[in-house]
């Protein structure tokens, strides 16, 4: 300051004076009285926004007054204004301020008749959006609320009312009393459950009256049993759609099963349930037989499932159903030996058969694989001599057998694919296959068509085989080397093979047919008897019921499926290995399509027959030229396609088995 020129210093001084002078005036205009001590009106306002804070206590002065629960509207009508302080405080909204939801209320006392307008959706959505990443998880439940809001938005309740388009059919607070929305597991929620039927019934009166007469209704409304089914248990709480639609029908069936677990399990084991689980609603569902709102036990004479009324239910779909339908077990349980002994025995027998056959042959396969691999390592076994390519072939199958095998394979695979979609209706692939085919009705037609073809082939084969035997009746040896009938040599060969597998003996020498080929041949006879007869029973239920009792459907369904499962696994694993995959044959044998087998290979596998033919001088009659290149390629192509299809089916079946719900 000392160095400042005088003139400038005096200007600065003048400014300073002016400033000081102005400071003397402005305090009078600016100075604010310190906030008065004690309570002032300012405490009723939010200092940040200047908006009035209305404490809940202020609202409860009038709305929580037990002595004056009602008030009179401006038009003289009475209105209930009472809210339970304790309920609100115990509810999930207990810490909210009243006018956080009742946003139209800004003044107390209300200057005008207040409108009850609450925007639940926006608040819950924005609160969840704000807190969804909170590590505390305090708002976790809002996620469910927001999901339910979305379900509600797609529900029939969120549609505009037909009587008044300006409003929806129902909105949040038509069902929820926000003042009593309890936290999970609280008494409030139990109480709200018990109130659910009457709440829904305030609009759906007819349904409520029906429900009152039901076992569920009596338990809830009379015995106050909050565990019994209320409306929302079957219809869902928010994703409510028209009961005529597939979505509702599926949801209701699923929801019945939430409590009636055994009933659902056994239902899904039936044809009705299998089709339903594939996603179709054209077969009987819980409420088709049991009724919906008036559901009662089977002993109640007014119940839809009472013995006197049951046939009416069957006739809703099976219009020609007769008395025999009554002995059908809609919830037959093959695991319940006490109540369903026949079904239980059938299951135990079929499963023992499956397990026994598959276990035996899989061991057979593994040991055979082991032996051939070991032999090849040691340079033994049948190895193609590339210096002397196959020129001469042995004619093993005439054209008719080749056609029969080809068509039989295609029919069998079609039957496996369409049939196992029902057995494994729980899988995604089954749903996709049925959807691809165009639904269960089309699938049923495809399955039946393939079944007719399959049986026709079987019968045709039988006729041809018997004709052939008849022609050769003078010389035919029933238990000779060219006969398909099993004989003692097969038993010896089997034992011999196991010895060979284990390195305790030479590979047995075979006649025209080996024992595993005979097994492959005779298995379809058993299969035809079991799958065919059960299939015919199931083919046309009304027709079958004119002869057989209803429980035969249960037995037939079970053994049809189990036997088919056995066939599907056996053919696509054991048969494939024996014929195509064992190292001597790998990757495939096309003999069944070309009809010819290289003479060296024939010699190796059927040496006894070869020697017999040589000795008898008959070999030349059976020798043919090598199949043409085109015939060879065609046979390889067809074989490849069938093998691939078979392996795909095996995969699907195994997926189905492994993911089978209990």
């Amino acid at each position: 300051m000392n160095t400042m020129p005088r003139r400038i210093a005096s200007t600065a001084l003048a400014c300073l004076w002016a400033a000081v002078f102005s400071l003397c005036i402005t305090p009078a205009a600016h100075a604010e009285n310190a906030a008065p001590e004690g309570e002032t009106i300012l405490q009723h306002f939010d200092p940040a926004t200047g908006k009035r804070i209305i404490p809940n206590e202020r609202c409860l002065t009038c709305h929580g007054d037990e002595k004056e629960k009602t008030d009179v509207r401006d038009d003289g009508s009475k209105v209930n204004i009472f809210v339970h302080r304790d309920q609100i405080e115990a509810s999930v909204h207990g810490e909210q301020r009243c006018n956080s939801c009742h946003t139209t209320i800004s003044r107390v006392p209300h200057r005008e008749a207040p409108e009850v307008i609450v925007g639940c959706v926006e608040c819950h959505r924005s609160t969840w959006e704000k807190h969804k990443d909170d590590p505390s998880g305090e708002h976790e439940r809002l996620k469910v609320v927001v999901e339910q809001i979305d379900s509600f938005m797609g529900s029939v309740h969120a549609q505009p009312s037909k009587l008044d388009e300006s409003r929806t059919n129902a909105t949040c607070y038509d069902c929820h009393d926000a003042h009593t929305v309890g936290k999970l597991g609280t008494q409030q929620r139990e109480e709200n459950r018990l109130k659910n039927p009457e709440l829904c019934g305030s609009c759906h009166e007819k349904q409520l009256n029906e429900y009152r007469t039901s076992d569920h209704g009596k338990a809830v409304l009379e015995k106050k049993d909050s565990k019994a089914a209320v409306c929302s248990d079957c219809h869902t709480t928010h994703a409510i759609t028209s009961p005529e639609g597939d979505a509702a029908k599926k949801a209701i069936t699923k929801n019945c099963g939430d409590c009636h677990e055994d009933a659902q399990r056994t239902y899904f084991a039936s044809y009705h349930g299998q089709v339903h689980r594939l996603g179709y609603t054209n077969t009987a569902k819980c409420h088709d037989c049991h009724g919906g709102h008036e559901i009662k036990g089977k002993d109640d004479p007014t119940s839809e499932i009472h013995a006197n009324n049951r046939l009416e239910n069957c006739r809703n779909c099976h219009t020609d159903a007769n008395e025999n339908f009554l002995s059908f077990w809609p919830h037959g349980d093959a695991d319940d030996a006490e109540n369903y002994p026949a079904l239980w025995i059938a299951k135990v027998f079929m499963q023992a058969l499956i397990f026994g056959v598959i276990a035996f042959f899989w061991v057979h396969v593994l040991l055979w694989l082991y032996r051939e691999v070991m032999d090849r390592i040691q340079g033994k076994g049948f190895i193609e001599d590339r210096e002397r390519p196959d020129i001469v072939y042995f004619r093993r199958f005439p054209a008719v057998w080749r056609w029969i095998h080809g068509l039989f394979a295609i029919a069998t695979m079609t039957l496996i694919l369409t049939g196992t979609t029902l057995l494994f209706s729980h899988t995604a692939w089954a749903k996709a296959v049925v959807n691809f085919l165009g639904g269960p009705q089309v699938e049923g037609i495809v399955h039946r068509t393939a079944a007719v073809l399959w049986l026709s082939i079987f019968v045709a084969h039988l006729a041809i085989a018997l004709t052939n035997i008849w022609r050769k009746r003078q010389t035919f040896e029933w238990f000779g080397g060219t006969s398909m009938l099993p004989n003692w040599k097969d038993w010896d060969d089997l034992r011999g093979m196991f010895k060979w597998f284990l390195g305790r003996g030479p590979r047995p020498e075979f006649c025209h047919w080996t024992y595993w080929q005979k097994f492959d041949y005779w298995a379809p006879f058993w299969g035809t008897a079991v799958i065919g007869s059960s299939g015919i029973i199931l083919f046309a239920p009304e027709a079958t019921a004119t002869i057989l009792p209803g429980w035969m459907f249960n037995i037939a369904t079970l053994i049809h499926a189990e036997e088919a499962l056995l066939a599907a696994i056996f053919l696509n694993s054991v048969h494939f290995f024996n014929v195509h995959f064992r190292p001597e044959r790998f990757p495939m044998s096309t003999t069944i399509f070309t009809g010819a087998i290289p003479i060296e290979e024939f010699k190796h596998d059927h040496r006894l027959e070869y020697e017999r033919l040589v000795a008898a001088g008959e070999l030349d009659k059976h020798l043919v030229k090598r199949p043409s290149r085109r015939a060879d390629l065609a046979a390889s192509f067809i074989t490849s396609v069938l093998i691939m299809a078979g392996l795909a089916l095996l995969t699907l079946v195994l997926i189905g088995l492994m993911t089978m719900p209990d």
Binding site: H30, N33, A35, P36, E37
Partner: protein
């Protein structure tokens, strides 16, 4: 550098008062009220209401009613018309911040006791806390003649009843007859 800072500072100091004079503060506007409503809104006159510590929204409502000639007044309606809404709000917040100084009044203790019973039964839900400042205005400690004038205005139809108030007053009169209004007035006067 120091010079620049100093000069800037001085310039700001010099201009600051000029900027504030552009719009008078709520306090400055409220100076004119003091003549009737007392310094900072604590009335000393017998027929003028105290407006210190008053609910600011009630203040604005009242002034707007005066502007619209909805309230009976001698000169208040004319005065009210001179202010913009913003000015009314500024004044409202100024008075809301003031501490209410009440002067003792002579009242009949027996009547006041009766008035308390009537108040609790009929008036308390709106005029909370014995009529202390709130969203229903200020009754506690107001001058008795002012309370009397106001009730006369309501009773004679010169001022519209607030929602539901007539029903409540009728109920109080049904309880205590002609005594009801004086009892309430004495009760409010007893609070200071």
């Amino acid at each position: 550098m120091t010079k620049t800072v100093r000069n800037l500072l001085l310039a700001v100091l010099a201009l600051a008062p000029a900027m504030t004079t552009a719009a008078p503060s709520g306090e400055a506007l409220a100076f004119t009220c003091a003549g009737c409503h007392g310094t900072d809104g604590s009335s000393v006159g017998p027929s003028m209401p105290s407006i210190a510590g008053m609910d600011p929204e009630v203040f604005v409502d009242a002034m707007k009613d005066y502007q619209a000639d909805k309230r009976n007044s001698s000169i208040m309606n004319r005065i009210a018309k001179g202010y913009t809404t913003q000015q009314l709000e500024d004044m409202a917040w100024f008075f809301a911040r003031q501490r209410l100084h009440l002067l003792p009044q002579k009242y009949d203790a027996a009547l006041a006791a009766r008035g308390k019973i009537l108040h609790d039964k009929h008036c308390e839900k709106c005029h909370e806390d014995g009529g202390r400042p709130g969203d229903a205005g200020t009754l506690a400690g107001q001058w008795m003649p002012y309370l009397q004038h106001t009730m006369d205005d309501f009773m004679s139809g010169k001022r519209d009843w607030p929602r539901k108030m007539k029903r409540k007053v009728d109920a109080a009169i049904a309880d205590d007859g002609k005594q009801a209004i004086p009892a309430l007035i004495h009760y409010y006067a007893s609070q200071h």
